[in-house]
Symmetry: C2
Subunit: 478 residues, 2 copies
């Protein structure tokens, strides 16, 4: 048995003065041949290990370099240094693993986020990414806790799929056929009947359609899994592989859907505020430092924690798409022709429009409902006006769309007509239509992009910095 | 707002006598034009809705068919029927969705599991699959709770990857290249530099290697995500897409690893016993009924719940691979030549050998350690005997291997030599080797096949019956 250490986070909370403890971790700094700042990843806070002068031999001291791994047995004593209440006076020090300080890619200086992306396997060892990924963990746990408390069933919808939920997305093919000499049919086309699954298959873009199958049996379900878009978008907002949470609820209408989404987002933020105060404080400070580079008028009015407090303490604004367009048309911004893209009823709002609404006009998250049918998916419930559907998007300051959802079209005839109009093949979706044939119910659901949520809570500007190993065009390293 | 119902599970627990409630759900049965058994998926238990004779018109009564969706407002009254303590006397009944009883694929009779697989979109509405998927949910939540309580970080390792953790598995290609006329290099080979990720990419077979990157920064992490095997295995034990849990711990050796795995499995089972008693009882009875078809001598000595109690209340047996082989060689089974495959030191034990050990010899879960190096992966820690590695498998009665893990080789020179010997390309895994270069530490981890765990707890014999929409050779329906 090797694992008899106390985690540094526990040690700092627990404060077992005068007791013998074993700590293990990696060296952050080593000062005066005497003071080791040791970190084990449980918190950004290091524990100071004190090596009595003369007690340890020079060979050992030389091996205490940045990122070397140590096992220390020692006694917990009160600390005289500032910023820490205790330290560990070392009785025994063992080098578990050396680290050549000159070759170690993480030098004791500030590295750019771009550089750290290239060494994503080591960036977890920095304070920034330590905080980001501990918060990512906390958010993921909070997701499960929120839905479990409400009696939702976690459904693992398939990753490899023959269907395309959005009816449009660019998808990745999944195949075991050889590129050299693939099997062909008589007409020369590729014979996917010979492929592993006996048909053409892709990576899922959404678990929603399968989620609806669960909701119409269990009442309320959610998914939380990876989804994929083969879009050639090299932006700070897009990933080819990302995680999505998709609750789907029978007996819910659009208003219930919006209520749940708002409660959910507020719950997640509150959970992190209660469980990751140290990490949030670090990121708040980090963001303030970053903003100091900007001119005064581009800096945020609120710091990270103030922004989160504001979101949990205020109701989200709720407006219809039609109202949103009116606000944009009457805005000084529009009148001064500051929007790059045109504004009129029927447009798919661009990022600049959404940001204007949430950041300039309302200054808080906004739920926009009842979008034009023409810009939305086939499964959304048709409103009585004949031109809008019961869709909703939630727009967040600094992020844009964070949630997209709708009440689903539960009426078989209307759904079939719409699929026909939009060219969605109803034979392939026979199972989806069955839910409308046998005891259909009003139901609704939404999707939350998990990385966008992590961005919102951590204040990280680039989505590649909130997922462990980002997948983007021309990049699948690690 | 539509969602003002009380869930049937809550109603049956809460028992608000004489109060007005709204329930919604699907009709299981309708007797005597009077008694509706209504189910909403929150539990297998139906609530009985009583329609006073003469109060509702015939048109409405005719539409109350199996699987029709109802909204009922009524008063909670004590029930005189057996097996239920309350019922709802209906004041208002609304048909939310009709169901043509003759066309409804789930007829009120016993369907085979094979048939239900073909209508996997509806099988959630049966008692068997209701229980299985509520337990699957409970197990998934317990996984997160177990690790969160211990301070592990949930890491989302990539699904699309250029590396092959096992060094061997058959993998699915992920691509956006066209089969017709793919880009080729001068030598005629496919030019994967033109593919979406700029290289040849696959679906992951394991998140372990990336998990180790997390463990050597955060100390303790776990993954819980989909993994893939393009094996053409049409058995009751294999899926092409399945979910795996992979914890990875710095500062752990093989014994710590085994301790954690045992504690984890017992925690999961205990969680279900405490939270899903009704569902377990249903499945216990189901299994007893199933076993009645078997001859007496093939029936289990313990029923489902007794088996689970036995596992949580007894320490797992721990033996080395060498001891396991000795037991097999000395068994009456071997001496009577009843094993199909040969037994000798060095073999990769077959399912029949593992089952003999756990089901006949020890009659409980067994942790087998220190396997021959030749049959194990490159990353496992080499033991001092020069022929075994610090691997461990956990074998469970009725399931076989449920956990596979090891202490990892943390010594750079030994790891590099082994990769060379086994032909694992070390250039591609530069990032993996970096963890051994900069502060390497003893560490260990394991993988738990989630579906096997669900099988073990639910007693379902076929792995296709514990995942929502199974992916197997020639099958990617739904």
């Amino acid at each position: 048995m090797f694992n008899n250490r106390v985690k540094i986070k526990e040690l700092l909370t627990w404060q077992p003065e005068q007791q013998q403890v074993t700590v293990m971790g990696w060296v952050r700094t080593f000062r005066n041949n005497q003071f080791v700042a040791l970190n084990d990843g449980s918190t950004n806070n290091n524990v100071q290990v004190v090596l009595e002068l003369g007690k340890f031999n020079d060979d050992l001291l030389k091996r205490i370099t940045t990122s070397a791994a140590l096992k220390v047995k020692g006694t917990v004593i009160p600390s005289l240094g500032k910023g820490q209440t205790l330290e560990v006076k070392a009785d025994e020090v063992e080098i578990l693993g050396d680290s050549d300080a000159e070759k170690y890619p993480l030098q004791p200086k500030k590295h750019s986020l771009e550089f750290l992306r290239e060494i994503a396997h080591l960036r977890f060892r920095t304070n920034t990414f330590g905080s980001v990924f501990r918060i990512r963990h906390a958010l993921a746990f909070a997701v499960h806790q929120f839905f479990n408390n409400k009696g939702f069933i976690y459904l693992h919808t398939p990753i490899v799929t023959a269907s395309d939920a959005e009816g449009a997305g660019e998808m990745f093919r999944v195949t075991t056929l050889p590129f050299d000499n693939p099997p062909r049919k008589e007409d020369g086309s590729i014979d996917y009947a010979e492929d592993f699954f006996g048909r053409s298959t892709n990576l899922t873009v959404s678990g929603q359609l399968e989620g609806e199958l669960g909701a119409t049996a269990f009442g309320e379900i959610y998914t939380f899994g990876p989804t994929f878009r083969a879009e050639n978008s090299n932006t700070a907002r897009h990933l080819a592989e990302f995680w999505m949470i998709e609750p789907e609820m029978a007996f819910h209408d659009l208003e219930d859907n919006a209520n749940l989404a708002e409660e959910f987002i507020q719950y997640l933020i509150r959970y992190v505020m209660e469980n990751n105060a140290d990490d949030l404080e670090f990121l708040r400070q980090r963001l303030l430092d970053e903003e100091k580079q900007k001119p005064q008028n581009e800096r945020s009015e609120m710091d990270l924690i103030q922004k989160l407090e504001f979101v949990v303490n205020n109701k989200f604004e709720r407006i219809t798409y039609t109202e949103a367009i009116d606000i944009l048309l009457q805005s000084p911004h529009y009148k001064k022709k500051k929007f790059q893209y045109d504004v009129k009823w029927g447009i798919d709002m661009q990022s600049e429009h959404e940001r204007y609404l949430v950041e300039k006009h309302f200054k808080k998250p906004v739920i926009v409902t009842n979008y034009p049918a023409d810009i939305k998916s086939f499964y959304m419930r048709q409103n009585d006006d004949g031109k809008t559907v019961a869709a909703m998007d939630i727009l967040a300051p600094g992020i844009g769309e964070i949630v997209g959802g709708s009440q689903r079209e539960e009426r078989l005839d209307k759904l079939e007509q719409r699929m026909k109009d939009m060219g969605v093949p109803s034979e392939e979706l026979w199972w989806y239509l069955d839910t409308r044939r046998f005891g259909t119910v009003p139901h609704a659901g939404f999707g939350l992009g998990f990385e966008r949520m992590v961005q919102f809570v951590t204040g990280m500007g680039n989505i590649r910095d909130v997922i462990a190993f980002p997948r983007t065009p021309k990049n699948a390293e690690f």
